[in-house]
Structure formats: C-alpha cells, structure tokens
C-alpha cells in the first residue's frame, strides 16, 4: 500500500487524466456550470466536491469555502477563474509572498481526481445555489 513505485504510477496516471480533463473543460468553461440542486439537495458531483473540499482544502481555506485567517475565501473562485485556471492553481500551487504559500497538489491523487468536483461545488456556492454546511444528496438513501 505504501510502495513508492505504485504511488508514482498512480500519480502519473492521474496527472495525465487531469491534463486530459483540463483540456476537455476549457472548451466548456463559458457555459453554465453543470450541476443540479433540488430543494436544497445536491447531485453527486457537488457532494463529492463538498467532501473533497472539506478533506483537502478546508484546513486552510476554512469551512464551506468561506476563507480563514490563513488563506482566502474561495466563494468567488469559481466565478473569477475558469476551470483551467483553477485546476492549474491546484496542481501547481502558489507562492504569494514568503511565508504565504499554497502547496502543489499535483502529487495528491485524491485531490487531482476531484478537482472538477471541487470546482463544481464552489460554482454552486458562488451562484448562491448552495449554503453552508454538509449538503444532502439527492436520493441519498439509494
């Protein structure tokens, strides 16, 4: 489970997949984000995006994308950035100034797999279609 070779292979595959997805998404980045919110309940993409956000991003960017004293709010991130820009920032990280650093997630298979879901989740937050807290999934019982 912790062999480096296996990890490297997974990371490579995911990186390639992410690039592929990224290329594919650029073409649709001007369209309305594709998601479904019904009676406050959300589709699987948003829900997975919420989960991935809370697992990987919340520790710095605060709960529900609202920002913190450590890193900025991402509520408008999906409005202000195309998916391509967003995914590139996640993959490459950023150094704003010494001591203010966003890590590169390119080696994090879980995050790279879910970049698109996170973007969808933040799009729903930006559009005001989704409030704070853990959303309910449409047909969660299934």
């Amino acid at each position: 489970m912790r062999t480096k070779q296996k990890q490297a292979a997974v990371v490579c595959a995911v990186a390639a997949l992410a690039l592929f997805m990224l290329a594919g998404k650029i073409a649709i980045s001007n369209e309305e984000p594709r998601y479904r919110v019904e009676d406050g309940k959300v589709d699987d993409n948003i829900f997975r995006g919420y989960q991935a956000y809370t697992r990987a991003c919340m520790a710095c960017h605060g709960p529900d994308g609202v920002g913190s004293s450590f890193a900025p709010s991402l509520l408008r991130a999906a409005e202000r950035r195309t998916f391509a820009e967003f995914a590139r920032t996640v993959a490459e990280g950023q150094e704003i100034q010494p001591g203010q650093v966003m890590p590169s997630f390119s080696d994090d298979a879980f995050v790279m797999e879910h970049v698109s879901d996170i973007y969808t989740y933040l799009s729903a937050r930006a559009a005001g279609d989704l409030g704070r807290g853990r959303p309910q999934r449409i047909e969660e019982d299934e």
Binding site: C60, P63, G99
Partner: protein, 607 residues
C-alpha cells in the same frame, strides 16, 4: 539595571568557562525573582502567576499602552515576550521565525534582529498556521524551535547564532511550533505534524553544544519510547506488559502513529521530572487504528509523560484518551501545583484538558485523583472510571461505533478542544486555575485515508457549531473561568463572544488577565471575574499576557496577531445547524472584528 546586566554577564561568562554549569540553576534563580518573566509559562511549574502587585484592582483602570511594535509578520502570534532583567524584551514571530531584542528604555528600539533562512515549503505542512510559541532563555542564550525543524541557540547579547541542530524532516510532514524548555543544561523540544502521520518524539539537546542527549518517542517499542514496563508506572502500578506502543496498533501503524508532543513542558526540580502530553494518534479515522475490528489503545498517544530530565526514562504515564475518536490531542499544559486533599498534602499536576475534563493527578506516581467536566456540554464521555483511569464513552458520540463514512453529530467539545494550547494560570493565593475556554461542538465524519509521506493524513472531516444554548451562553463561543482543581468545580465564569485562545496571567494585584480573539486585553477581578479594564490591540490575541518589572515599574506585555486554528475555524463565523441549509451564519464572524498583523503592546501605569 546596569548592576543586573553586569551580574547576568558574569553569570553567562562563568557558565561558558566552567561548561558544567546547570542551566536550571540559572533559571531557578531567574524564576524566583518576581521582577522577571524568564520562562514562557512564568516558572517551571507552568503557573503563569506573578507576585508583582503594583498594578492592582484599584488602579488597573489607569493602565495604558506605553508603546507598540509591529513584528512585520502577518501570521498567528502565539507565545509571549521574555524579560530576563537586562533591559530588553525578547520576542519571536511565526514563520519566518524572526527573533527581536527590543530596548525597553527606548520604547522598543530594535537592539538586534535574527531571521533564519528557512525552506518556505515547510509552510503548507503546518496544518493550523505557522505559529511559534516562543523563545526559551538560560545562561545568556536564547533557544528557538524553527518551523523547519531546526533548533537554534542565539547569544542574547547580540543575536549571534551559537549552534543549530536538526530535529526532524519537513518532507515527512514534521515541523516545530513549540517553545523549548531548558532543564539541567538541556534544551527539550518536541515535534509537530500530528495531521501528517509523523511519529511524535521529544528530544533533549545539550544547551551548550546542541548535541542530542536523548530522544523518547511517543509510539513504538519500549526501548525507543524510553519506558521500562517493570518500573514505569501507570495509575500507580508498573505498566507490566512490554512494547504496548507496538501491540496496541494495527501492524506498522505506530510508525505513522502521531502523538506529537507540541505543547508545553513543565518541570519539577525536586523530583527531576519533566511533564508533557503527547498529541492525537495518526489518522483521525479510528477504524484504521482498531485491531481486529476492536478499539485499541494506540499507546502512547494522548498520554501525559513524566520523564527523568537527565535520561528521558519515563517514570510514569497516564493515557487520557485511549483510542481517540475525536482528535482530542493531549498536549495541554500540566500545571504543577501543591494541593491539600482530604487533609493530606499532595504534589499535584492539574490539566484543563482538550476533552472538557479537568484532571488532577499525583505528579510523583501518576495516580488519577480528580476528573470532572469543566465544560458542562461535554458529552463524548459520561465520566472517568477512577479505578482504571479510563473515560466511559457514550456510544451515541463514538465515531468508531457510529462508523466510517457516518456523520456523527453534536459531539461536544469540538476537536479544537474545550481548551486548546492557550496556557492557563494558577494563583497560589486563591488555589484556583484560570483559563480561556472554547464552547464549541462538532459533527465528525471519519473516512478511509491512505498514507503518503509528507501529505496530510487526516481521515475525518468535521464541522463546528457553538455549544448548545442551554448553558446560558447563547451565541457565545468562549469563556474565561476560574476552576477549583481539587473540588473539580467551576468557581466563576465570564462569557466571551469567541473562543478564548490566549494564555492567562494572574498577579498578586488580585487580577487575572487574558486576551480575546477580537483583540481585547482584559483585566478581571480574580475573586469574581468582574471586568476592570480593557484595551483593544490591533489584531486578535492568541498569545499570552506576560508581566515584569523594570526600573521599579510593572509592565504588562502581550503579542497580538490573530491566526492559529481559531483563525481558520472562526474567521467567517459558525453556522447554526438548526437554521438549515442556506442560512447566513447567525453567529459572529471573527473577520468582522479583526485582521492579521503581529504587534507587541506594552502597558504600564502613568508616572
């Protein structure tokens, strides 16, 4: 002043020449001088109490800021200034870990500044901000635990680097945030990184040379934990079984088992024992730490260690939370207090713990004497079994019983703890402990997580909400309390809008001081908590309020600069789960009150 300075120089020179001088003798001398604040916690016992009484209940309303100093660093500023009698304040900052010597007689002129050259890639692995809890001082040297795992010694005189030692590896998720403690010519320091699957350790370095003298791990075989099952005590009896630090984990999990001792260390010179707590076990998903599907103790995470200061051998251990299911990181300070219990004098050790329980232990044997809730909303355990020393967990709030990928709701307190690292104060005059408290609860959802070196190894998501309103504290997320450690009772408590994340101070002027996340420094009456004075610093306070006397004048000094876990969790406010989806946070958002920025503020009475 010049006499004191001369005296210190001589002491330092003698220490350098003889080589065998005991740093703790110097510190013992300094801590007994009530004019000084030579240790982060005020004294070895961790009491944060001052015998100074120039500022008192009758004149505290005249207290005013005499000067302020910006550190030029934006991150959360924990810890506080040291005053060792040489006319300067020594302060530190979060990453990049600047150290300043400031001239008190020249309103904070910079005598010297030291800034280490550190790899900025350490920043993203510091989960809850790039904080640092401050400098240690002994024999003319200052000691600092840098974020990048380098322990350094500086000459207090001119800031010259005397030695540096490597304590860990940030590419494996290790970092340092704690304030070292100097004992018997050793600098004692632990690692951070409990959310990155590190293996916790505490290490002693020679204060003069930086050579490693001993290291005790929090997990693994007894030979590396520095524990002897036949002599090390647990609840007053020998531990008995060998290598519990291996056998109470699933295969190999102890190697990434956390237990990072990143909090405060205290010391009893008579017993020659140091005391500290180890942090949370590895992943927050308890199912991944179970053995054969059953809860396993995951020793020695969340454990109070009493170790021989010279050899590191564990004299006794007490595991506060075996098999953690809530991230109740066990690092809170162990206050050494002498108490009378049932007509008997006891050498006590008191903890205002993350778990919401106030503990009192016998610090010679590790026997549990008191375990009572100081935060009434605490519900993860109904009580502690005083015979076994183990908590009785409520299955409704057991995230293991509820299961992986299940959102266990309304657990109190939150993972931040009913009290986090903010060090409490003990007044020998009242026999009470004074502490800033968090009144916040959580939902906790464990999930399967795979370990990758240097990546977060968390395995649970959590959401937080204010403690239920039936405690009479509707909409309030914090308080400042006086706690009777022997009776196990809250004596008085004052509400605060936000969690109180600053270290407390009590003085012989019958005052208690603390800071708030909005940025207020407050002085309250030690008898009843009535507010007597407040001042708004430029940013929220997660540092500690310290006091000292220079040229006959008592000063109060505090670092402000919001950040830390409090800043991450509370910046945009918490939501009321009852309000349902889409509700705007009904509870206050910290960002409406304060922004980042490190500032030292020094207060005194007018001439």
């Amino acid at each position: 002043m010049s006499t004191i300075k001369h005296c210190l120089t001589v002491v330092a020179a003698v220490a350098l020449v003889s080589g065998a001088a005991q740093a703790n003798e110097n510190l013992l001398e300094l801590q007994d001088n009530s004019e000084l604040w030579a240790l982060q916690l005020g004294n070895y016992a961790g009491n944060r109490h001052s015998r100074l009484d120039q500022i008192d209940r009758d004149n505290v309303q005249d207290l005013r800021a005499t000067w302020q100093f910006s550190t030029g660093v934006l991150r959360g500023h924990e810890g506080g200034p040291l005053y060792v009698g040489d006319g300067r304040l020594y302060i530190h900052t979060p990453f990049p870990n600047r150290v300043f010597a400031l001239d008190i007689e020249d309103e904070g002129r910079i005598v010297w500044m030291y800034e280490p050259d550190q790899d900025p890639r350490v920043v993203p692995i510091m989960c809850c901000d790039t904080v640092n809890r401050g400098l240690a001082y002994a024999d003319g040297r200052l000691f600092l635990a840098q974020a990048d795992n380098t322990v350094i010694a500086l000459s207090a005189e001119d800031g010259e680097l005397l030695w540096s030692a490597k304590n860990g590896d940030h590419t494996r998720g290790e970092s340092m945030t704690m304030s070292p403690l100097v004992v018997n010519n050793k600098v004692i320091v632990g690692n951070s990184g409990g959310e990155f699957g590190v293996r916790g350790h505490i290490t002693a370095y020679n204060a003069e040379t930086g050579e490693q003298e001993w290291r005790g791990y929090s997990t693994g075989p007894d030979s590396e934990v520095l524990l002897d099952p036949e002599t090390t005590l647990m609840m007053g009896e020998p531990v008995g079984e060998a290598d519990l630090g291996v056998s109470t984990w699933p295969e190999g999990e102890w190697e990434i088992g956390g237990g990072a001792p990143w909090g405060w260390v205290t010391y009893d010179p008579e017993l020659n024992l140091i005391y500290y707590g180890s942090g949370n076990p590895g992943t927050w998903n308890p199912a991944q730490r179970a053995v054969d599907g059953e809860p396993a103790d995951n020793k020695w995470s969340i454990t109070v260690f009493a170790r021989d200061a010279d050899t590191g051998m564990a004299k006794w251990v007490y595991q506060k939370v075996p098999f953690d299911e809530w991230d109740y990181d066990g690092v809170n300070e162990n206050q050494l207090i002498d108490v009378e219990m049932n007509g008997e004098e006891r050498k006590g050790l008191a903890i205002i713990d993350r778990t919401g329980f106030g503990f009192l232990l016998d610090r010679e044997t590790g026997e549990l004497l008191v375990a009572e809730k100081f935060a009434p909303e605490t519900n993860w355990a109904t009580h502690y079994d005083m015979d076994t020393g183990r908590p009785v967990v409520d299955p409704d709030y057991s995230t293991f019983t509820q299961g992986t990928d299940v959102n266990t709701t309304d657990i109190c307190p939150t993972a931040m703890g009913a009290k986090n690292m903010q060090p409490s104060s003990y007044s020998p005059d009242t026999g009470l402990i004074y502490a800033g408290i968090n009144r916040i609860c959580m939902n906790y959802e464990p999930h399967e997580v795979e370990y990758t070196s240097g990546q977060p190894y968390v395995g649970a998501t959590l959401t937080m909400m204010p403690a239920p309103g039936d405690n009479g504290m509707e909409g309030r997320m914090g308080s400042f309390m006086a706690w009777d450690p022997v009776a196990g009772e809250v004596v008085w408590e004052v509400e605060e809008r936000f969690a109180v994340w600053s270290g407390a101070l009590t003085t012989a002027g019958n005052l208690a001081f603390y800071g708030t996340l909005e940025g207020y420094v407050k002085a309250v009456d030690i008898e009843n908590g009535d507010e007597l004075w407040r001042f708004k610093t430029p940013s929220g306070i997660i540092g500690n309020v310290n006091t000292f006397q220079h040229n006959g004048k008592q000063y109060i000094a505090v670092l402000s600069g919001v950040g830390g876990w409090a800043g991450i969790g509370l910046a945009a406010g918490l939501t009321d789960p009852e309000e349902g989806l889409g509700a705007v946070g009904v509870f206050s958002a910290l960002e409406d009150y304060t922004k980042l920025g490190g500032v030292l503020t020094v207060f005194a009475l007018p001439d």
